[in-house]
Symmetry: C2
Protein backbone atom coordinates (compact mmCIF):
# COMPACT_ATOMS: atom_id res chain seq x y z
CA UNK A 1 0.00 0.00 0.00
CA UNK A 2 2.98 2.30 0.26
CA UNK A 3 3.39 4.99 -2.33
CA UNK A 4 6.20 7.44 -2.86
CA UNK A 5 5.63 10.78 -1.15
CA UNK A 6 5.33 12.78 -4.35
CA UNK A 7 3.10 15.83 -4.07
CA UNK A 8 -0.07 15.58 -6.12
CA UNK A 9 -0.67 17.79 -9.11
CA UNK A 10 2.92 17.55 -10.32
CA UNK A 11 1.73 17.81 -13.91
CA UNK A 12 4.28 17.88 -16.74
CA UNK A 13 5.81 21.35 -17.16
CA UNK A 14 3.94 23.73 -19.47
CA UNK A 15 5.46 26.35 -21.76
CA UNK A 16 5.89 29.59 -19.79
CA UNK A 17 2.96 31.40 -21.43
CA UNK A 18 0.68 28.35 -21.05
CA UNK A 19 1.67 28.08 -17.38
CA UNK A 20 0.93 31.78 -16.81
CA UNK A 21 -2.39 31.32 -18.60
CA UNK A 22 -3.29 28.33 -16.42
CA UNK A 23 -2.32 30.15 -13.21
CA UNK A 24 -4.47 33.14 -14.22
CA UNK A 25 -7.47 30.88 -14.87
CA UNK A 26 -7.01 29.06 -11.54
CA UNK A 27 -6.72 32.36 -9.72
CA UNK A 28 -9.96 33.58 -11.28
CA UNK A 29 -11.67 30.27 -10.47
CA UNK A 30 -10.44 30.32 -6.86
CA UNK A 31 -11.75 33.88 -6.43
CA UNK A 32 -15.14 32.96 -7.92
CA UNK A 33 -15.37 29.81 -5.77
CA UNK A 34 -14.61 31.84 -2.68
CA UNK A 35 -17.21 34.46 -3.54
CA UNK A 36 -20.06 32.27 -4.80
CA UNK A 37 -19.21 28.76 -3.59
CA UNK A 38 -17.48 25.96 -5.51
CA UNK A 39 -20.85 24.30 -6.16
CA UNK A 40 -21.86 27.32 -8.26
CA UNK A 41 -18.66 27.56 -10.29
CA UNK A 42 -19.18 27.47 -14.06
CA UNK A 43 -16.72 27.35 -16.95
CA UNK A 44 -18.49 30.42 -18.44
CA UNK A 45 -17.95 32.48 -15.31
CA UNK A 46 -14.25 31.55 -15.16
CA UNK A 47 -13.79 32.49 -18.81
CA UNK A 48 -15.54 35.83 -18.29
CA UNK A 49 -13.60 36.61 -15.09
CA UNK A 50 -10.27 35.82 -16.78
CA UNK A 51 -11.26 37.65 -19.99
CA UNK A 52 -10.65 34.64 -22.24
CA UNK A 53 -12.92 32.58 -24.45
CA UNK A 54 -14.82 29.68 -22.95
CA UNK A 55 -12.92 27.33 -25.29
CA UNK A 56 -9.64 28.25 -23.57
CA UNK A 57 -11.00 27.15 -20.19
CA UNK A 58 -12.23 23.85 -21.64
CA UNK A 59 -8.92 23.24 -23.45
CA UNK A 60 -6.99 23.82 -20.23
CA UNK A 61 -9.12 21.78 -17.79
CA UNK A 62 -11.18 19.39 -19.91
CA UNK A 63 -14.44 19.99 -18.09
CA UNK A 64 -15.89 21.42 -14.89
CA UNK A 65 -14.76 18.38 -12.88
CA UNK A 66 -11.23 18.89 -14.21
CA UNK A 67 -11.34 22.53 -13.14
CA UNK A 68 -12.57 21.65 -9.62
CA UNK A 69 -9.90 18.96 -9.41
CA UNK A 70 -7.22 21.49 -10.40
CA UNK A 71 -8.48 23.89 -7.72
CA UNK A 72 -8.42 21.09 -5.17
CA UNK A 73 -4.87 20.08 -6.17
CA UNK A 74 -3.85 23.70 -5.77
CA UNK A 75 -5.26 23.91 -2.25
CA UNK A 76 -4.02 20.40 -1.34
CA UNK A 77 -0.49 21.32 -2.48
CA UNK A 78 -0.38 24.15 0.03
CA UNK A 79 -1.38 21.76 2.83
CA UNK A 80 1.15 19.18 1.60
CA UNK A 81 3.91 21.80 1.54
CA UNK A 82 3.11 22.54 5.18
CA UNK A 83 3.19 18.96 6.43
CA UNK A 84 6.07 17.80 4.23
CA UNK A 85 8.38 20.82 4.26
CA UNK A 86 6.87 23.42 6.57
CA UNK A 87 7.96 24.44 10.06
CA UNK A 88 7.61 21.98 12.98
CA UNK A 89 5.64 20.57 14.67
CA UNK A 90 3.59 19.95 11.47
CA UNK A 91 6.67 19.77 9.27
CA UNK A 92 9.98 17.90 9.77
CA UNK A 93 12.13 18.63 12.81
CA UNK A 94 9.69 17.69 15.56
CA UNK A 95 9.29 14.19 17.08
CA UNK A 96 6.98 12.01 14.97
CA UNK A 97 4.33 11.85 17.68
CA UNK A 98 4.20 15.67 17.85
CA UNK A 99 3.89 15.82 14.07
CA UNK A 100 1.03 13.31 14.24
CA UNK A 101 -0.70 15.43 16.88
CA UNK A 102 -0.30 18.50 14.66
CA UNK A 103 -1.52 16.74 11.51
CA UNK A 104 -5.17 16.24 12.57
CA UNK A 105 -5.98 19.85 13.45
CA UNK A 106 -4.18 21.03 10.29
CA UNK A 107 -6.36 18.78 8.13
CA UNK A 108 -9.55 19.56 10.07
CA UNK A 109 -9.02 23.31 9.66
CA UNK A 110 -7.94 22.97 6.03
CA UNK A 111 -10.99 20.90 5.07
CA UNK A 112 -13.33 23.16 6.95
CA UNK A 113 -11.92 26.26 5.23
CA UNK A 114 -12.21 24.62 1.80
CA UNK A 115 -15.26 22.54 2.62
CA UNK A 116 -17.40 23.32 -0.40
CA UNK A 117 -14.48 22.65 -2.72
CA UNK A 118 -13.77 19.26 -1.13
CA UNK A 119 -17.45 18.31 -1.16
CA UNK A 120 -17.80 19.35 -4.82
CA UNK A 121 -14.56 17.83 -6.13
CA UNK A 122 -13.65 14.76 -4.06
CA UNK A 123 -15.18 11.56 -5.46
CA UNK A 124 -17.82 10.53 -2.94
CA UNK A 125 -17.62 6.82 -3.77
CA UNK A 126 -14.87 4.29 -3.13
CA UNK A 127 -12.83 6.20 -5.71
CA UNK A 128 -12.00 8.70 -2.96
CA UNK A 129 -9.49 6.13 -1.65
CA UNK A 130 -7.69 6.17 -5.00
CA UNK A 131 -7.03 9.89 -5.32
CA UNK A 132 -3.36 10.82 -4.83
CA UNK A 133 -4.17 13.25 -2.01
CA UNK A 134 -5.72 10.43 0.04
CA UNK A 135 -2.79 8.08 -0.58
CA UNK A 136 -0.31 10.77 0.33
CA UNK A 137 -2.05 11.62 3.60
CA UNK A 138 -2.42 7.93 4.46
CA UNK A 139 1.25 7.25 3.78
CA UNK A 140 2.28 10.31 5.79
CA UNK A 141 0.28 9.09 8.80
CA UNK A 142 1.57 5.51 8.48
CA UNK A 143 5.19 6.71 8.23
CA UNK A 144 4.81 8.95 11.30
CA UNK A 145 3.21 6.09 13.25
CA UNK A 146 6.21 3.90 12.47
CA UNK A 147 8.66 6.68 13.31
CA UNK A 148 6.80 7.19 16.59
CA UNK A 149 7.68 3.61 17.43
CA UNK A 150 4.39 1.89 16.57
CA UNK A 151 5.07 -1.79 15.93
CA UNK A 152 3.23 -4.44 13.92
CA UNK A 153 0.85 -3.63 11.08
CA UNK A 154 0.40 0.14 11.23
CA UNK A 155 -1.96 0.29 8.20
CA UNK A 156 -5.17 -0.38 10.18
CA UNK A 157 -4.26 2.35 12.66
CA UNK A 158 -3.46 4.76 9.82
CA UNK A 159 -6.75 3.85 8.09
CA UNK A 160 -8.77 4.45 11.27
CA UNK A 161 -7.08 7.82 11.78
CA UNK A 162 -7.80 8.72 8.15
CA UNK A 163 -11.42 7.60 8.61
CA UNK A 164 -11.69 10.15 11.39
CA UNK A 165 -10.39 12.84 8.99
CA UNK A 166 -12.85 12.00 6.17
CA UNK A 167 -13.89 15.27 4.46
CA UNK A 168 -17.58 14.43 4.44
CA UNK A 169 -17.48 13.23 8.06
CA UNK A 170 -15.78 16.40 9.29
CA UNK A 171 -18.34 18.49 7.44
CA UNK A 172 -21.20 16.38 8.81
CA UNK A 173 -19.95 16.64 12.41
CA UNK A 174 -19.29 20.38 12.28
CA UNK A 175 -22.33 21.52 10.33
CA UNK A 176 -25.03 18.90 10.97
CA UNK A 177 -24.14 17.63 14.43
CA UNK A 178 -22.96 20.92 15.85
CA UNK A 179 -19.73 19.34 17.10
CA UNK A 180 -17.17 22.06 17.87
CA UNK A 181 -13.81 22.09 16.09
CA UNK A 182 -12.25 21.99 19.58
CA UNK A 183 -13.98 18.70 20.42
CA UNK A 184 -13.04 17.27 17.03
CA UNK A 185 -9.40 18.26 17.58
CA UNK A 186 -9.34 16.99 21.17
CA UNK A 187 -10.67 13.68 19.82
CA UNK A 188 -7.81 13.54 17.34
CA UNK A 189 -5.20 14.05 20.09
CA UNK A 190 -6.83 11.33 22.16
CA UNK A 191 -6.74 8.93 19.18
CA UNK A 192 -3.09 9.69 18.43
CA UNK A 193 -2.12 9.16 22.09
CA UNK A 194 -3.74 5.74 22.04
CA UNK A 195 -2.56 4.61 18.60
CA UNK A 196 0.95 6.06 18.26
CA UNK B 1 -25.16 12.36 18.95
CA UNK B 2 -26.82 9.52 20.76
CA UNK B 3 -29.88 7.95 19.23
CA UNK B 4 -32.20 5.29 20.55
CA UNK B 5 -31.25 1.78 19.51
CA UNK B 6 -34.31 1.15 17.35
CA UNK B 7 -33.69 -1.23 14.46
CA UNK B 8 -33.91 0.41 11.07
CA UNK B 9 -36.70 -0.40 8.69
CA UNK B 10 -39.36 -0.47 11.39
CA UNK B 11 -41.95 0.81 8.94
CA UNK B 12 -45.57 1.18 10.04
CA UNK B 13 -47.41 -2.18 9.93
CA UNK B 14 -49.02 -3.09 6.62
CA UNK B 15 -52.27 -4.97 6.13
CA UNK B 16 -51.54 -8.70 6.06
CA UNK B 17 -51.95 -9.09 2.29
CA UNK B 18 -49.89 -5.95 1.59
CA UNK B 19 -47.14 -7.25 3.89
CA UNK B 20 -47.12 -10.62 2.12
CA UNK B 21 -47.02 -8.83 -1.21
CA UNK B 22 -44.07 -6.69 -0.09
CA UNK B 23 -42.19 -9.70 1.28
CA UNK B 24 -42.72 -11.55 -2.00
CA UNK B 25 -41.37 -8.61 -4.01
CA UNK B 26 -38.34 -8.26 -1.73
CA UNK B 27 -37.65 -11.97 -1.99
CA UNK B 28 -37.76 -11.79 -5.80
CA UNK B 29 -35.54 -8.69 -5.76
CA UNK B 30 -33.02 -10.32 -3.39
CA UNK B 31 -32.84 -13.40 -5.63
CA UNK B 32 -32.33 -11.27 -8.76
CA UNK B 33 -29.68 -9.13 -7.01
CA UNK B 34 -27.83 -12.26 -5.95
CA UNK B 35 -27.95 -13.74 -9.45
CA UNK B 36 -27.23 -10.66 -11.56
CA UNK B 37 -25.78 -8.11 -9.13
CA UNK B 38 -27.61 -5.27 -7.34
CA UNK B 39 -26.25 -2.78 -9.87
CA UNK B 40 -28.24 -4.55 -12.61
CA UNK B 41 -31.52 -4.74 -10.71
CA UNK B 42 -34.50 -3.18 -12.52
CA UNK B 43 -38.10 -2.58 -11.43
CA UNK B 44 -39.24 -4.41 -14.59
CA UNK B 45 -37.28 -7.54 -13.73
CA UNK B 46 -38.63 -7.58 -10.17
CA UNK B 47 -42.21 -7.22 -11.45
CA UNK B 48 -41.71 -10.04 -13.96
CA UNK B 49 -40.04 -12.33 -11.40
CA UNK B 50 -42.85 -11.77 -8.88
CA UNK B 51 -45.57 -12.04 -11.58
CA UNK B 52 -47.07 -8.63 -10.80
CA UNK B 53 -47.48 -5.46 -12.83
CA UNK B 54 -44.65 -2.94 -12.86
CA UNK B 55 -47.02 -0.41 -11.24
CA UNK B 56 -47.24 -2.60 -8.13
CA UNK B 57 -43.48 -2.51 -7.65
CA UNK B 58 -43.40 1.28 -8.05
CA UNK B 59 -46.36 1.73 -5.65
CA UNK B 60 -44.62 -0.38 -3.01
CA UNK B 61 -41.08 1.05 -3.22
CA UNK B 62 -41.42 4.45 -4.90
CA UNK B 63 -38.46 3.97 -7.24
CA UNK B 64 -35.37 1.86 -7.81
CA UNK B 65 -33.49 3.64 -5.01
CA UNK B 66 -36.40 2.86 -2.67
CA UNK B 67 -36.23 -0.80 -3.66
CA UNK B 68 -32.45 -0.99 -3.11
CA UNK B 69 -32.90 0.78 0.23
CA UNK B 70 -35.56 -1.76 1.24
CA UNK B 71 -33.23 -4.63 0.30
CA UNK B 72 -30.44 -3.03 2.29
CA UNK B 73 -32.72 -2.55 5.34
CA UNK B 74 -33.67 -6.20 5.05
CA UNK B 75 -30.05 -7.36 5.08
CA UNK B 76 -29.06 -4.78 7.74
CA UNK B 77 -31.89 -5.98 10.01
CA UNK B 78 -30.42 -9.46 10.05
CA UNK B 79 -27.02 -8.10 11.08
CA UNK B 80 -28.68 -5.88 13.70
CA UNK B 81 -30.60 -8.83 15.12
CA UNK B 82 -27.27 -10.62 15.52
CA UNK B 83 -25.44 -7.86 17.34
CA UNK B 84 -28.40 -6.66 19.40
CA UNK B 85 -30.14 -9.93 20.32
CA UNK B 86 -28.05 -12.78 18.94
CA UNK B 87 -25.79 -15.20 20.80
CA UNK B 88 -22.57 -13.94 22.47
CA UNK B 89 -19.88 -12.83 21.91
CA UNK B 90 -21.52 -10.67 19.19
CA UNK B 91 -24.83 -10.39 21.09
CA UNK B 92 -25.51 -9.61 24.76
CA UNK B 93 -24.08 -11.85 27.48
CA UNK B 94 -20.36 -11.44 26.74
CA UNK B 95 -18.07 -8.73 28.22
CA UNK B 96 -18.32 -5.47 26.24
CA UNK B 97 -14.74 -5.71 25.02
CA UNK B 98 -15.38 -9.21 23.62
CA UNK B 99 -18.51 -7.90 21.90
CA UNK B 100 -16.47 -5.06 20.40
CA UNK B 101 -13.89 -7.54 19.14
CA UNK B 102 -16.67 -9.62 17.55
CA UNK B 103 -18.39 -6.62 15.97
CA UNK B 104 -15.69 -5.73 13.42
CA UNK B 105 -15.36 -9.14 11.75
CA UNK B 106 -19.18 -9.46 11.70
CA UNK B 107 -19.49 -6.16 9.83
CA UNK B 108 -16.52 -6.87 7.54
CA UNK B 109 -17.98 -10.25 6.51
CA UNK B 110 -21.51 -8.87 6.20
CA UNK B 111 -20.44 -5.98 3.98
CA UNK B 112 -18.26 -8.19 1.87
CA UNK B 113 -21.11 -10.68 1.33
CA UNK B 114 -23.53 -7.91 0.40
CA UNK B 115 -20.94 -5.64 -1.16
CA UNK B 116 -22.69 -4.76 -4.41
CA UNK B 117 -25.90 -3.97 -2.53
CA UNK B 118 -24.07 -1.62 -0.13
CA UNK B 119 -22.20 0.05 -2.95
CA UNK B 120 -25.41 0.51 -4.97
CA UNK B 121 -27.67 1.64 -2.14
CA UNK B 122 -25.63 3.46 0.51
CA UNK B 123 -25.41 7.18 -0.19
CA UNK B 124 -21.81 7.84 -1.13
CA UNK B 125 -21.81 11.45 0.03
CA UNK B 126 -21.97 12.93 3.52
CA UNK B 127 -25.55 11.64 3.66
CA UNK B 128 -24.15 8.21 4.49
CA UNK B 129 -23.59 9.49 8.04
CA UNK B 130 -27.30 10.26 8.34
CA UNK B 131 -28.72 6.86 7.45
CA UNK B 132 -30.23 5.02 10.46
CA UNK B 133 -27.98 1.99 9.94
CA UNK B 134 -24.86 4.16 10.38
CA UNK B 135 -26.23 5.86 13.50
CA UNK B 136 -27.21 2.53 14.99
CA UNK B 137 -23.77 0.98 14.41
CA UNK B 138 -22.03 4.10 15.73
CA UNK B 139 -24.18 4.15 18.88
CA UNK B 140 -23.62 0.43 19.39
CA UNK B 141 -19.84 0.89 19.23
CA UNK B 142 -19.91 3.97 21.51
CA UNK B 143 -22.08 2.17 24.09
CA UNK B 144 -19.78 -0.88 24.09
CA UNK B 145 -16.72 1.36 24.48
CA UNK B 146 -18.30 2.96 27.55
CA UNK B 147 -19.32 -0.42 28.95
CA UNK B 148 -15.77 -1.65 28.39
CA UNK B 149 -14.66 1.11 30.74
CA UNK B 150 -13.48 3.71 28.23
CA UNK B 151 -13.54 7.13 29.89
CA UNK B 152 -13.81 10.66 28.52
CA UNK B 153 -15.30 11.48 25.13
CA UNK B 154 -15.82 8.09 23.44
CA UNK B 155 -17.34 9.58 20.24
CA UNK B 156 -14.01 10.20 18.44
CA UNK B 157 -12.90 6.62 19.20
CA UNK B 158 -16.26 5.29 17.96
CA UNK B 159 -16.00 7.47 14.82
CA UNK B 160 -12.47 6.23 14.06
CA UNK B 161 -13.57 2.61 14.49
CA UNK B 162 -16.55 3.26 12.20
CA UNK B 163 -14.24 4.93 9.69
CA UNK B 164 -12.29 1.68 9.54
CA UNK B 165 -15.55 -0.20 8.82
CA UNK B 166 -16.63 2.13 5.97
CA UNK B 167 -18.35 0.02 3.27
CA UNK B 168 -16.46 1.60 0.40
CA UNK B 169 -13.14 1.37 2.26
CA UNK B 170 -13.58 -2.32 3.04
CA UNK B 171 -14.45 -2.99 -0.58
CA UNK B 172 -11.49 -0.92 -1.77
CA UNK B 173 -9.03 -2.72 0.53
CA UNK B 174 -10.30 -6.22 -0.28
CA UNK B 175 -10.83 -5.88 -4.02
CA UNK B 176 -8.43 -3.13 -5.16
CA UNK B 177 -5.59 -3.41 -2.68
CA UNK B 178 -5.68 -7.17 -2.29
CA UNK B 179 -5.72 -6.91 1.50
CA UNK B 180 -6.87 -10.21 3.01
CA UNK B 181 -9.97 -10.36 5.22
CA UNK B 182 -7.67 -11.87 7.89
CA UNK B 183 -5.40 -8.81 7.89
CA UNK B 184 -8.44 -6.50 7.95
CA UNK B 185 -9.87 -8.39 10.93
CA UNK B 186 -6.54 -8.55 12.76
CA UNK B 187 -6.34 -4.78 12.30
CA UNK B 188 -9.77 -4.39 13.89
CA UNK B 189 -8.74 -6.42 16.94
CA UNK B 190 -5.59 -4.34 17.29
CA UNK B 191 -7.64 -1.12 17.12
CA UNK B 192 -10.16 -2.35 19.69
CA UNK B 193 -7.37 -3.40 22.06
CA UNK B 194 -5.89 0.07 21.89
CA UNK B 195 -9.12 2.07 22.02
CA UNK B 196 -11.38 0.11 24.39
Amino acid sequence: MDIALTPVGSTPPLRADAARNRARLLEAAARLAEEHGAANLTMDAVAAAACVGKGTVFRRFGDRTGLLQALLDHSEQRLQAEFMNGPPPLGPGAPAVDRLHAFGPAVIRHEHTHRDLYLAAVPATGRRFEVPAYSLRLTHVAVLLRQAGAGGDVQPRALALMGYLDSALIDHLLTRRGMSPERLEAGWHDLVSRLA
